[in-house]
């Protein structure tokens, strides 16, 4: 029987860092990455030579971008690996760092996400070998626009219910100095934005951008060996990664994948969805937040929009959803996204989130879906 993370050594997040997410600029990716890594090292209170392995989530930088960046911290000869898993690249890189430490291969591992926008080959392109019937007309936004229309018919919700997700997350992003979009939007502004596909307007789609995020994980031995402050360490309770199966509802695969992966992650962590205080999820498009909250079991089917309206997912509500601003406002630079989620959960569980602090946050969950499709879920806890 496959083992779970709890069957291995305990793993803790001990350092976090960012280069703020931003629109495409002339900033070299070395600056994006090194800024985030130096901040994470400082946050952990350790020096670069203490790091024993690196996993770099990136989908846009091309071949071998990591060593040429990190050599500027001093070339120590440690193993460095790029991890590409579409939108879940950063989450998958984090999982690799966690497994590295849990398995005893490193006591301290760095996970970072760095990317800059670039054109990439997508599944369904000429090189794939199979041409889809939609002939490229179904971009991700239209995939979710079709699901949104279906959801509206099924549960009797209206476009305003989706728009409220963007309103909430923009409010959170306005409090986050690392967010790509730091302006709170009202519902009217969200809904009157440029229509792109189905009910989705421009303000309900995450921005494309660039940035850096870094997380350092360590074992208890690593924490002791390097004098890291255990009181700020956040325990990783579970790490799951799955890929799409054949579902009865073939087109709603993102939610089915989320349901299965979250169930696994919560079971391995020994907690329930109702116990979660903070959730960072894959809200590339506003509608996804409602779909995934229901798939995770945080809301019953058809209930997420009502709970959102009641403020249950606000900072200060029963469970703060995307307190960073989510992909919608924090941004979605691909590689950094999943790493940044872990950093935000860590900040929340340390009670260091300032104006964005969810009161009494003890248990957090990070969720990303990657094109393909894959899904990654991590559960983190503030040990008391």
């Amino acid at each position: 029987m496959p083992k779970a993370l709890k069957d291995f050594r305990n793993v803790y997040v001990v350092g976090i860092g960012f280069h703020p997410y931003q629109f495409f600029s002339a900033t070299p990716y070395l600056t994006l990455g090194l800024t985030a890594v130096r901040q994470a090292l400082g946050d952990a209170g350790i020096k670069w030579p203490s790091v024993e392995s690196v996993y770099h989530g990136t989908a846009m930088l091309g071949m071998a971008p990591t060593r040429g960046m990190l050599k500027h911290l001093g070339a120590t000869g440690i193993p460095m690996t790029q991890v590409e898993n579409a939108s879940a690249s950063g989450s998958t890189a984090f999982r690799q760092s966690v497994l590295e430490v849990a398995g005893g291969f490193s006591d301290v591992s760095l996970c970072l996400g760095v990317d800059k926008p670039a054109l990439v080959n997508m599944p369904g392109s000429q090189n794939f070998g199979i041409r889809p019937l939609d002939a490229g007309r179904i971009a991700p936004i239209t995939h979710f626009a079709l699901l949104a229309q279906n959801y509206m018919e099924k549960y009797g919700v209206d476009p305003e219910d989706f728009g409220r997700v963007a309103v909430k997350n923009s409010r959170n992003g306005a409090l986050n100095p690392n967010a790509q979009k730091q302006r709170a939007l009202n519902l009217e502004t969200v809904l009157e934005g440029e229509p792109l596909s189905g009910v989705l307007t421009k303000r309900q789609c995450c921005p494309i951008g660039e940035g850096g995020a870094a997380v350092i994980v360590a074992s208890e031995e690593g924490i002791r060996k390097h004098g890291i402050d255990m009181s700020r360490a956040i325990k990783v309770l579970s790490s799951t990664l799955t890929s799409e199966e054949v579902y009865e509802n073939a087109t709603d695969f993102d939610a089915e994948l989320t349901r299965h992966t979250t169930e696994l992650a919560l079971a391995q962590a020994g907690v329930s969805a109702k116990e979660l205080d903070v959730v960072e999820l894959h809200d590339a498009f506003s509608v996804e937040e409602l779909f995934y909250l229901e798939a995770m079991g945080i809301a019953q089917p058809g209930e997420a929009s009502h709970m959102l309206k009641e403020g249950i997912f606000d900072i200060g509500g029963e469970v703060a959803v995307s307190p960073s601003g989510g992909l919608l406002s924090m941004g979605h630079p691909i590689g950094p996204t999943g790493v940044g989620q872990i950093a935000e959960i860590t900040r929340q569980l340390r009670y260091e989130a300032g104006d964005r602090q969810q009161p009494n946050a003890k248990l957090g969950l990070a969720h990303m879906v990657g094109l393909g499709a894959v899904c990654s879920v991590h559960v983190l806890s503030k040990e008391t």
Binding site: L133, D134, A135, R137, A139, T142, L146, L196, V246, A250
Partner: protein
């Protein structure tokens, strides 16, 4: 838009659909191509009986069967409208918007996503029975004489279940 001359009839998306009547070898000069019946080129797995589209030889997603276990199967382009979306803007500049995409459950089971006949609709009802029809485009023939040739593209529109 992809370009293929095929065996006498040119299709916008070769290998995904064709005319049902194999005796029809040319559509040049035909006025109304919407009367030509299309078929979708799907496949069935002999091992798990899964019907899927498009036809391919790489392996069955349901069970991994490959080779002779995967058989081509023509599917009728008819089914129930599950969802739709008017696409006002597309990131790929070679794809002209607006257009309307639909999600349709074919009568033989698979769910497909395909473009509708008209760019936009005043109203569409989920549950409507949809039928596939051909529309035509005049495209460059690919020779040096700047000739045009007729290319068929499969689109869907509201239809009658009685025709199914």
């Amino acid at each position: 838009m992809a370009d293929s001359q095929g065996a006498g009839i040119s299709y916008a998306h070769p290998g995904l659909y064709e005319v049902q009547n194999s005796a029809l070898t040319s559509v040049e000069g035909l006025g109304d191509v919407s009367q030509i019946r299309p078929v979708l080129k799907g496949m069935v797995c002999r091992s798990c009986q899964r019907i899927s589209i498009p036809v391919q030889t790489y392996g069955c997603e349901g069970c991994g069967e490959v080779g002779k276990g995967l058989q081509p199967k023509d599917l009728e382009p008819m089914g129930e409208l599950l969802s739709y979306a008017l696409v006002s803007k597309h990131h790929d500049k070679s794809i002209t918007a607006p257009f309307t995409m639909a999600e349709i459950r074919l009568k033989e089971g698979p769910v497909i996503r395909a473009a509708l006949e008209k760019d936009s609709y005043d109203s569409l009802d989920v549950g409507t029975w949809m039928e596939g029809i051909f529309i035509k485009h005049e495209v460059a023939a690919g020779n040096d004489n700047q000739d045009k040739t007729t290319q068929l593209e499969l689109r869907f529109r509201p239809g009658s279940k009685a025709d199914a």
